[in-house]
């Protein structure tokens, strides 16, 4: 069982790491812009709703959020082990659990848009 899990979780981690490396810097920047409210209309509701209304937008958003969560869950599992936290089973359950929940929620929200 463990042998099966590790390949799956690692591939999600690797895909998530690559995807977030490409898009999270600019997305973080955009959220910062939105937080400052400048330029005006950045991340405006109409624009965002429009982007997420079509299936390509939904797919991209779903993939980005989900893979980012699986990446973080797997990498934090290793990191916490490195910090001396031995309860790997618990860490894995919590981390992958949050990732699974986030994956399901993002799908749930996106189909409503």
């Amino acid at each position: 069982m463990a042998k099966i899990n590790k390949a799956l979780f690692w591939s999600l981690f690797a895909a998530g790491g690559t995807l977030t490396a490409f898009v999270f810097p600019v997305l973080a920047l955009i959220v910062l812009f939105a937080a400052y409210g400048s330029p005006a209309d950045v991340m405006g509701y109409e624009q965002m709703h429009g982007l997420l209304s079509n299936w390509l937008g939904k797919l991209v958003a779903f993939g980005t959020v989900a893979l980012a969560l699986w990446h973080a869950a797997h990498r934090m599992r290793t990191a916490l082990h490195g910090l001396g936290i031995r309860a790997d089973g618990v860490v894995a359950a919590v981390g992958y659990g949050v990732a699974l929940l986030g994956t399901v929620l993002s799908a749930y929200y996106l189909v409503q848009i």
């Binding site: 463990a2 042998k3 099966i4 590790k6 390949a7 799956l8 690692w10 591939s11 690797a14 082990h81």
Partner: protein, 247 residues
């Protein structure tokens, strides 16, 4: 040829007498082109004949003389005393291995793990002799050549934080050997090696710290090999899921 003064603080341990290791300090007057190994040899010959350590070729091809110098895994024959001129250098046995005596470590764990990855060409069918040799193009050779340069010095194991924390981890050099044979066009043993490589303590316990490649005296780049191995193992796993597994 001028002289260099150094001091070597060497970890000593006699399993028949000591409960714990302790340091002993030896000042040595070296020639300026000596390696740390020459200084240790000088100590053995002229100062303290009881000191035990491994060495052989003195030219960084046999892999015998791996030690920690100031906390860094190095080949003693490849560490110039010039770097420690007028200083005290701390010399210890390779980290993450049990100490047999003085600078000699117990390598059994690595030897077991090396065997487990089957580091030899595996054929499903042998060609009959009349058909001649297994031919390999320069490009096919180049694909895995770098990984053949490993001299099993175990510096990578001494540097690897995961091997320090997880003793079951098969480790950089052994896994690199698995990858070296998987990449060899003459080999048909990838599926056989998967059993070991795909275990958690196989490729997956590597966290890509990259320390192994940093310290490797032969520039094998085990870290690169291990990431390639992870990708190849994952591909094999997905192929297995859809019924396309086995090489």
């Amino acid at each position: 040829m001028s002289e260099i003064q150094i001091e070597l603080e060497i970890l000593r341990y006699d399993p028949e007498k000591d409960q714990e290791p302790h340091f002993e300090t030896y000042p040595v007057t070296c020639q300026d082109d000596w390696m740390v190994l020459d200084a240790i040899n000088y100590i053995k010959d002229h100062v303290d004949t009881t000191i035990s350590y491994r060495w052989s070729c003195h030219m960084a091809v046999c892999g015998s003389c791996g030690v920690m110098i100031d906390g860094e895994p190095k080949l003693a024959c490849k560490a110039p005393v010039r770097d420690y001129a007028n200083k005290t250098a701390r010399v210890e046995p390779l980290a993450n291995f049990p100490i047999e005596r003085d600078l000699v470590v117990v390598m059994d764990d690595f030897m077991d793990k090396l065997k487990r990855v089957k580091p030899y060409l595996i054929r499903k069918e042998e060609k009959p002799l009349e058909e001649g040799e297994y031919k390999q193009s320069p490009a096919e050779l180049k694909k895995y050549k770098q990984f053949t340069l490993c001299i099993n010095c175990l510096c990578c194991y001494a540097a690897c934080p995961q091997y320090a924390l997880i003793p079951e981890f098969i480790g950089p050099a052994a896994l690199t050997m698995a990858h070296r044979y998987n990449q060899d066009s003459r080999d048909q043993g990838l599926a056989e090696r998967q059993d070991e490589v795909a275990k958690p303590e196989g490729a997956w316990d590597c966290s890509f710290a990259g320390e192994c490649s940093e310290v490797c005296p032969k520039h094998v780049d085990p870290a690169g090999a291990l990431q390639q191995l992870k990708i190849a193992t994952t591909v094999e796993w997905y192929k297995g899921l859809i019924g396309m597994g086995g090489k």
